[in-house]
Subunit: 122 residues, 2 copies
DNA sequence: CCTATATTCAACCACATGGTTGAATTACAG
DNA sequence: CTGTAATTCAACCATGTGGTTGAATATAGG
C-alpha cells in the first residue's frame, strides 16, 4: 500500500484545494492534454496556468512529457489513490463507529514523524 | 449522495492540506476532544490551535458543542465522505481506464458553475 | 536564417495563511 | 464578589499563494 508521508499529503491535498486544479484533473481524466489545452477553459494567463500545473506535478498528481515544444500532461494514479486511502480510513470509522480503530491510528502515528510539532516538516 | 459544491470542496481539501489539522482529525477519531486537548500535542499557542479548529469547523469536518466554558469537538462524517467520493471517481478512472467516464465528467461540470473562470468563487 | 508557437521565468502585487502576544469573554469555584 | 480556567478576539508579522506582465527559451516551419 502506497502511503504518503506528511509532506506529500500536504501538497496533494493543497493541490486538490483549488477549483482550477480540480478542473484540470478532470480534463486530464479525458486523456492527455498540453499546457495550452489545460489553460484554455480559464480566464487566466498561461503563466498562471503553468503554475497550477506545476503544483499538480510537484504533488505527483500528473506527469509531463516534453514533446518538441509542447508539454503533454497526463494523470498519475499513485498519489490520489493514497489520498483516497487516507480518507477511506476515516470513512471506515464513520460507517462502523468502531473505537477499536484507535489502534490503527496509533500505528499511523508511529509511521510518521515521531514528535509532530508544528514546523517539523517545513 | 452528498455532493459538495466547489466552494466547500475548496475548504475541505484546504483543511486536509495541513498536518496539524489532519492530526487533530485523527485524535477526534478517538472520540470527543476539547479545544485544549486538541491543542495539547502541538508546540503552538492555543490561539493558533483555535484557528485550526475553526478551519476544520467551517469546512464542516467537525462540529462543536459548547459545554460550560469548554468547547467539545467531534467529527462530522458528511463532508469527508464527499471528498472521498470525489477521489473515488478518479480511482475508478485509474483502475478501469474507461474513457466512457468522460460523460460523467461533463455531468459533474453541469452541476457546478457553468463558466468556471478563476475567481468565480472568491 | 527568420518568424511564429508553446511554454517558462522573473519581478511584482494583493491577499490569505499560520504563527505570535496581550486583552477580552465566559463560566466555574471559593 | 473574586479569582482562575477555557477559549476567543484583535492586532500584528513573515511567508505563501494566485494573479499579472514582459522578457527569455526552445522548437517547428517556411
Amino acid at each position: 500500500m502506497v502511503e504518503l508521508q506528511s509532506l506529500q499529503m500536504n501538497s496533494v491535498f493543497h493541490a486538490l484545494g483549488d477549483a482550477t486544479r480540480r478542473r484540470m484533473l478532470r480534463d486530464l481524466a479525458g486523456g492527455e492534454r498540453t499546457v495550452g489545452q489545460l489553460a484554455e477553459p480559464f480566464a487566466i494567463s498561461l503563466a498562471a496556468a503553468s503554475k497550477h500545473i506545476k503544483a499538480l506535478e510537484s504533488a505527483g498528481l500528473i506527469r509531463r512529457e516534453v514533446r518538441g515544444r509542447t508539454h503533454v500532461c497526463r494523470l498519475d494514479p499513485g498519489p490520489l489513490a493514497s489520498a483516497h486511502e487516507w480518507l477511506n480510513f476515516y470513512e471506515r470509522f464513520w460507517t462502523n463507529r468502531l473505537d477499536a480503530l484507535d489502534r490503527l491510528l496509533r500505528e499511523e502515528d508511529a509511521r510518521q514523524s515521531p514528535k509532530s510539532k508544528k514546523g517539523d516538516d517545513k
